[in-house]
Amino acid sequence: MSEALPDEAARDLRRAAEAEAAALPALLIAAEHLANTVQMGGHGRRRAGAGEEFWQYRPAHSGDAARFVDWRRSARSDSQFVRDREAQLAQSLCLWVDPAASMRFSGAETGRKARPEKLARARLLALALAISALRAGERVGLTSPLAPPRPGKAQLLTLAQALMAETSGLDYAAPDLTAVAPQARVVVLSDFFADPAGLEAALLGAAERGVSGVLLQVLDPAEEDFPYDGRTVFTSMAGGLRFETREAGDLRARYRARLAERRDRIARIADRAGFAFSSHHTGAPAQTALLWLHGALAGGWR
């Protein structure tokens, strides 16, 4: 990747993400089902297997090839010993950032209290997470087949470019997790305004393959507070939906009730599929969200 000059936006995103990730300790994602994965990685499983770290000496028995015998140890006694290594494996982390038009919303684009678009915040979080995972030796990729999980620093640029390139003309989008390898961890960053049925299908399908992960809802504070009054015509970001009201202020309570209901629904789906779920506002610093993501991935279920 280094010979190909990455475009400016991707570099900027990576720079910002590295700044965010610098504050976190190296992220070690808890790998649950070590035995079933064959990929080597940094996660010691406290038993003998393929790996780099020393685990134990054991008496050689039939079937052990002579080249596995540790001669230095065997010389100190009468029998032959074999040097076992601790089994290690790397975890796969797959990211999905909602590319839909609805994510390109910012409640305050200019001014003193300008907030970034939801998409920008989501990309930043995704890449920050990727950086810390890559530092820990994990393999990171996107859910799409375009960027399968790979370890190493070079993967970072690929990820950044793929994230920047991924946009959609649709108003709302649901994740497609069919290409995710079994036992991988998935991080889904979205506003979850799309029909939850799609999400439910994707998550349950993934759960069947042993995939787990986290869902983070990225919202603008305006979407939470609904600070509108008067006669207003609301249109979706891509213009597909249109809604007119004579007194927007009246709708506030009912909108927030619906939002809470939606959040509830997503949380239930996540629970069933074994995913963790939380919300993040673009008005808040990205650090808190990253901490939560880190915690949720490292600590297993929440």
Binding site: G230, F234, T235, D250
Partner: protein
């Protein structure tokens, strides 16, 4: 113009637009306010929600009404409404404008000028030629008709005169020939010359009169009645109102101020009298009376000697023998003076402390308190001595309190033992103060004291006998004078005290007060020079070398161009000629029937278009706010801005008149510097930063550790709490109020210091060549500032902490401090003079010290000074000057006292 009651419209057809208002109602109602379009991802959640309120579907009625109001006000405004419009009938042909121009016009002069301007503008627009005549200042010949526009330019030169138009105006000479209309701006007073002029004017064309509805008021001359001053107030028509008469005069410090005020109530009357009963000290100070709030020469009444009561000390050597009152030396003096003067009859030692104006010694030979009396005369007293047997008996050659040396013994002319006849008086010389008085034939002198021949004798003689021997001699001493009557004050030596001439002579010598109304005879033969002149508005103007006026004219003539009202004086007396001649009865002017009189009583025409349009604009603004509020756009910062604007537009409550306690404690608890705000925010910031920098320098280098500097509020702060006041002067520096000046003066007297800084590198050299220089002069004029001099090399400021030669700031110009006393001497063995007294209350310069001292928040200098290292050196010297200045304020002349150190050391050594 169309009239609707008192309203007129210049463009009435526009009002038809009002018919369209209902249409607008219908249109506006049909259109609800436009919606805002918003992009909002959460719209997915909104789908299916229904509106509960339907308020915004149609424009609310009150908003509709507001918008209709906007439109209606705009239509009305453009239709040009005028309240009480003056019917304009365009005239034709030439126009003659006659202005009385007397003192009675002065009270409402601006309105007259306004009316004149209007008339001229109208005439100019109509192309009518105009001529203007001021009757009080009549042109020598009939004025020609000229362009009205040209006359407008000359209007500022037209001023009311402090007299009335002359009685014998000749209409034929005054009025131009031909047909023309006339506009007469009358002052409202009737006078004899008016009727013929009206007739003459009407012969030329129509006459229109403009005359104010309020009666004319005037003050007469004050007269004395015992201890009271009576002041007649007359009006041209009966009125019912209370007027206040103010008596003005010099206070003990010589400034003119109001000494007394007396309300006078007219109850449907045209005449009233204000009676002032004041102590003599106060009454003698009064120089004029005024009707408060009226600007006119007629509302001013000047006073002169006639209103003053002098304090006269009568002293005779011997107490009269009992029962021989008529022989007492002072009897006739007493009779002559008692009505018009306050008499003090005591011994000389008792009389001197009460400070009499005049001391009369009747036949006193030896004066015991000679030096005291001489001092008193030299300070302006008038000593009048009368001869007698005692004076004749003593040797007076060494007596300085006599105008001439006297021959001992005197002479007897017409006694039983002499051959001669009693002598008569010679007529008085032109130069004598008695000039013009008639000498009665029956006055004779039988005995007198004789003057030694002397070169000065002729000049000192102011009255003589027929044979030329001096009868009255006078000598000036310092500011006063000594007068000697060579006869006795009683009838022993002559019958002069019995004659009517005697009180007249005393009066001419200003011993007794003149009668309030002097007759021609009283003033005959004297020439009065104008001292001060009244202008039409009642202001006293100094005169410059004007020709003298004969006393007879002054007594008789009403004021006129040749005899302007004012103060006239001779060497000995002052006479006031008031605007209102004695006996003038004010009466309202009457005009023949058929003359159109345009008065001030009619309400003024008032164009309302501005108000209507302003109302439309205000309603429009309200509409904007209401629309914003309705459509939900008036939120957050917008609402805050609207509220802030509304709060800003509210009248702010009056500020506290005194310094707040917290501020006073802060200022009093430590050394605090203050600066006077200039009204220019940038300069004030620099002043603040400069004083802060100076405070930091002082804290670092000396034991003076000042607190944070303060911005001074001259009106409320107690200045005594501030150590040093820095006063930057700009072209636009605001002038403090008189009360603030009182405080500033108290501050300066109490040892405070003000550092004036013109910040212009002293380009003007403290002159008025620059704007700031002029401003500084104007600002500092009311301050008690002692004489100043450029900082001498040995001033204590140069060594109060650091040794300095220059006092630079950003510039390095000279500075000015209080001048050293003239008798300052160089101390022995020291390079500087002995200047121990007085901290200079002001330091004046233009070096922009604050900029040199100014530091920013991190203690870095705010402004560059000079170039490179030399500039930094200059900043250092500037800092040192600041330290020296503060040390000078705080320690006074402590360092100057060092001149005594050698002497002290020497004494200690012994």
């Amino acid at each position: 113009m169309t009239m609707l009651g008192p309203l007129g419209f210049t463009a009435p057809w526009l009002l038809l637009g009002l018919v369209a208002l209902p249409l607008l109602w219908w249109l506006l109602r049909a259109t609800p306010p436009a919606p805002i379009r918003r992009r909002f991802p959460g719209v997915a959640l909104l789908l299916g929600l229904a509106d509960e309120m339907v308020q915004a579907e149609r424009t609310p009625w009150w908003l509709l009404a507001l918008r209709m109001l906007v439109l209606a006000a705009a239509i009305l405004g453009f239709a040009g409404p005028i309240l009480h419009p003056e019917p304009v009938v365009p005239g034709r042909g030439p126009l003659l404008i006659v202005e009385d121009g007397s003192w009675a016009s002065a009270a409402d002069w601006p309105r007259r000028i306004e009316r004149l301007t209007r008339a001229l503008t109208e005439a100019s627009a109509a192309g009518r030629p105009v001529a203007l005549i001021s009757l009080a200042d009549p042109p020598p010949a009939a004025p020609p008709f000229t362009e009205a526009a040209d006359l407008i330019d000359t209007l500022p030169g037209v001023q009311p005169k402090p007299w009335e138009p002359s009685i014998d105006l000749d209409p034929a000479k005054l009025l131009p020939a031909g047909r023309y209309d006339t506009l007469w701006l009358s002052d409202g007073l009737d006078r004899a010359s008016r009727a013929p002029l009206v007739k003459a004017v009407q012969a030329h064309g129509t006459l229109k009169v403009w005359q104010p509805a309020v009666p004319v008021l005037a003050l007469g001359s004050a007269s004395v009645d015992g201890t009271k001053l009576k002041l007649p107030l007359s009006a041209s028509a009966p009125v019912s109102r209370t007027f206040e008469i103010a008596a003005l005069g010099a206070d003990p410090s010589g400034l003119e101020r109001e000494l007394a005020r007396q309300p006078v109530t007219l109850k449907d009357a045209a005449q009233a009298e204000a009676i002032f009963d004041l102590p003599p000290e106060l009454r003698n100070r009064i120089t004029r009376f005024e009707i408060a709030g009226l600007r006119s020469a007629g509302a001013v009444s000047l006073t002169d000697d006639a209103q003053k009561r002098r304090k006269v000390a009568l002293i005779s050597a011997s107490s009269a023998r009992e029962g021989l009152e008529l022989l007492a030396p002072t009897h006739y003096l007493h009779q002559a003076l008692a009505p018009s003067a306050d008499l003090v009859e005591a011994t000389l030692a008792d009389a001197l402390p009460v400070k009499p104006d005049v001391i009369i010694l009747a036949d006193v030979g030896e004066v015991a308190e000679r030096t005291e009396l001489q001092d008193w005369v030299e300070k302006g007293g008038m000593l009048i001595r009368f001869a007698g047997p005692r004076l004749a008996a003593v040797d007076t050659s060494a007596d300085p309190l006599l105008p001439v040396r006297l021959r001992q013994g005197g002479r007897s002319i017409g006694g039983t033992m002499s051959w001669g006849e009693p002598r008569k008086l010679a007529p008085f010389a032109e130069t004598s103060p008695f000039a013009g008085l008639t000498v009665p034939d029956e006055v004779t002198v039988r005995e007198q004291v004789l003057a030694e021949p002397d070169p000065d004798l002729g000049a000192r003689t102011i009255a003589a006998l027929a044979d030329g021997t001096p009868l009255v001699t006078r000598k000036t001493m310092g500011q006063g004078a000594v007068v000697l009557f060579h006869v006795t004050a009683n009838a022993e030596w002559s019958n002069l005290p019995l004659s009517g001439l005697f009180p007249q002579m005393l009066e001419r010598l200003s011993v007794s007060a003149r009668p309030a109304a002097p007759t021609a005879e009283d003033l005959a033969g004297q020439t009065f020079t104008p001292l001060k002149r009244l202008d039409g508005f009642g202001l006293l103007i100094a005169t410059e070398a004007e020709a003298g006026v004969k006393g007879e004219d002054l007594a008789e003539g009403p004021p006129g161009p040749d005899l302007p009202p004012g103060l006239y004086g001779t060497e000995d007396q002052v006479l006031a000629l008031n605007t209102l001649p004695r006996g003038r009865q004010l009466a309202p002017a009457l005009w023949p029937a058929g003359v159109a009189i345009e008065g001030e009583a009619a309400p003024k025409q008032m164009p309302l278009a501005g108000f209507a349009l302003a109302a439309a604009l205000v309603a429009l603004l309200l509409d904007i706010l209401a629309t914003l509020a309705l459509s939900g756009r008036l939120r957050g910062p917008r609402a805050a801005a609207v509220i802030a604007l509304a709060v800003a537009l509210m009248p702010s409550p009056p500020q506290a008149e005194t310094m707040s306690e917290a501020r006073a404690i802060e200022a009093a608890s430590n050394v605090v510097f203050a600066y006077v705000p200039t009204g220019d925010g940038a300069i004030d910031q620099v002043s603040m930063a400069g004083l802060r920098g100076l405070s930091q320098t002082l804290t670092r280098r000396t034991t003076v550790e000042p607190s944070e500097p303060m911005q001074l509020d001259l009106e409320t702060d107690d200045l005594a709490l501030f150590t040093l006041i820095y006063w930057p002067v700009t072209e636009t520096s605001p002038t403090p109020s008189p009360a603030a000046y009182v405080k500033l003066n108290r501050y300066l007297r109490g040892g405070g210091m003000i550092l004036f800084d013109t910040r212009d590198a002293d380009l003007a050299g403290m002159g008025a060549a620059t704007e700031t220089g002029r401003r500084l002069q104007a600002l500092a004029a009311p301050l008690d500032i002692p004489p100043l001099e450029p900082l001498p090399r040995d001033h204590v400021l140069t060594r109060s902490f650091y040794l300095l030669q220059t006092m630079p700031g950003r510039y390095d110009g000279p500075i000015w401090v209080e001048a050293a006393p003239a008798d300052a001497e160089q101390a022995e063995g020291m390079p500087f003079r002995n200047l121990n007294d007085g901290v200079t209350p002001v330091v004046i310069g233009g070096n922009d010290w604050a900029s040199a001292w100014a530091v920013d928040d991190v203690g870095q200098p705010m402004f560059p000074i000079g170039r490179g290292q030399a500039g930094e050196r200059q900043r250092e010297i500037a800092d040192r000057f600041g330290v020296n200045l503060v040390m000078h304020v705080l320690t006074g002349n402590y360092k100057s006292d060092q001149v005594h150190v050698p002497a002290l050391l020497e004494r200690l050594g012994q």
